[in-house]
């Protein structure tokens, strides 16, 4: 009986780590698409820098998952050899980069979220998880210091930049709610003090975001109807394309060292 409990606990934790790794790896992929495409050279550097941070996070989550699974699989097997239905990232991470306004508003939403979420996760009973969260939290604080002024600037810059921010907001609003949803297995991890109750963060996230946007005369309304499904492998149409690009070499030349 005891073994059975441990077994589910382990399975839940692995699942959780892979989900967090998926969030990071997919988001990092999107950000890296800005390389040589930014409005300033400085932004090329900044955006790839954030991409690099998220790649680093993905590796830490996956490596830990691989260690727990202990079946010879590596971080790369997890990233490169699973299908679109097996990926469990939350949908907001996979949306295409669109324009700079969309990218920065998503970045801002993510930054506020991760600052709160990782702060809470750094208190996890699982020491390895807590260590990853602590490291990542520092990065997110830094990211937020950069995304906040950009949102303010774009919202108050020109009519066009403001319109672009508003359009981005209208699209992103449908996807932020999923950040605060949990499957049963995640709830179980919360009960064990390993994961963080996402619903408890939601209020604070909404408070910060609406207060900040209000400074630029933008009203933030969390729409009632939220798109979700990422954690169950129900994605947008975009993910398949992303994966076919990302996994191309590993799929074409199976089982090789690079």
């Amino acid at each position: 009986m005891k073994d059975e409990i441990n077994c589910t606990e382990l399975e839940n934790l692995t699942r959780f780590l892979i989900a967090l790794g998926d969030d990071s790896v997919i988001y990092s992929h999107r950000l890296s698409e800005w390389c040589s495409n930014g409005p300033y050279l400085e932004e090329d550097i900044a955006l790839t820098n954030v991409a690099l941070d998220y790649t680093g996070r993905a590796r830490l989550f996956y490596q830990y998952a691989a260690k727990l699974e202990d079946n010879g699989k590596t971080e790369d097997d997890i990233a490169y050899l699973r299908t679109e239905r097996e990926f469990t990232n939350l949908l907001i991470h996979e949306l295409p980069i669109n324009d700079f306004a969309f990218t920065m508003l998503r970045q801002y939403f993510m930054d506020v979220f991760y600052c709160l979420y990782l702060q809470a996760l750094s208190g996890s009973k699982d020491e390895s998880l807590s260590a990853i969260a602590t490291k990542a939290l520092k990065e997110s604080h830094y990211h937020l210091k950069r995304s906040e002024p950009w949102i303010k600037l774009l919202a108050q810059g020109t009519d066009e930049s403001r319109q672009r921010i508003l359009r981005a907001q209208a699209e992103l609003e449908n996807f932020t709610g999923e950040l605060f949803l949990m499957e049963t297995w995640e709830v179980q991890l919360v009960d064990q003090g390993i994961a963080v109750d996402r619903s408890l963060i939601q209020l604070e996230w909404e408070r910060q975001v609406s207060a900040f946007l209000a400074e630029s005369n933008i009203q933030f309304t969390q729409t009632q109807l939220q798109v979700s499904g990422g954690r169950c492998g129900i994605h947008t149409e975009h993910l398949g394309h992303l994966l076919s690009e990302m996994q191309y070499l590993q799929r074409t030349y199976p089982g090789m060292k690079w």
Partner: protein, 319 residues
Amino acid sequence: MQTVEPLLQEAEFDQKILDEQKIEPRDWMPEAYRKNLIRQMSQHAHSEVIGMQPEGNWITRAPTLRRKAVLLAKIQDEAGHGLYLYSATETLGCTRSELIEALQTGKAKYASIFNYPALTWADVGATGWLVDGAAIVNQIALQRTSYGPYARAMVRICKEESFHQRQGYEIMFALAKGSPQQKQMAQDAMNRIWWPSLMMFGPHDADSAHSSQSMKWKIKRQSNDFLRQKFIDQTIPQIKVLGLDMPDPEIRWNKKRGHYDHGEINWDEFYQVINGQGPCNHQRIKHHKRAHDEGEWVREAVRNYREKQNRRENSTMKK
């Protein structure tokens, strides 16, 4: 007075060059020296920036997470080099937007190597190894260049370049020691990138338009052919370690010279690519322009926002 002073200034400048002192932004310098530097430094800056494209072409397809992280970091470094070199060029009295315009209108050049396509993953390895390798040979020589900001930029940049070269070689090594397909991939990439890397050192000394004056001013410290030979000599043993076939059948150790002999570079191709007819010339500039144009609304928003801020500050100061 007016006729004597320029002469004095010029003599002082010449003496500084002779004494191996650095020329600094506020120092008087001949107009031709300034122009020559702007040409060379901006070309260098543009090369860093345009070079992001062929390598960036592989970020989203890197084969492992570690390789992806390393490649991201490398390209980020190159962007940083570009930025650093643009600032160094700006000390000569031109703005970054002028420099970018010169790039986009074809008035300014960038390293021709980036007008070749990065076709396979092995190209990322071969580029790091050979292109950054050739760049290092050039840039080590430039650490002693006479213009202070340029020399200092080179010192800083060289450190990162050698890291890039090691990473590139590491990719090649993994491929060369991997499956037959991977080895073939490595061989193919090296064969293609080898010649354009040799071209990076420019035409033969006898045919180099800017060389002699640049050497006199100590902007350039060593000749094209000397540096090219140095690069070849250091790279051949590395090819042997990889166990790949030589990219040039005429490569042979010459005991008498103490150097490797090699086949002649296809100079027609060199001039063709330099004059805009390479495989990717149009693509690279089009890409740069597209990204720049798409970012215009952002830059406009920045300008507008700053103006509003300034106005607000001014009006509160008046109160």
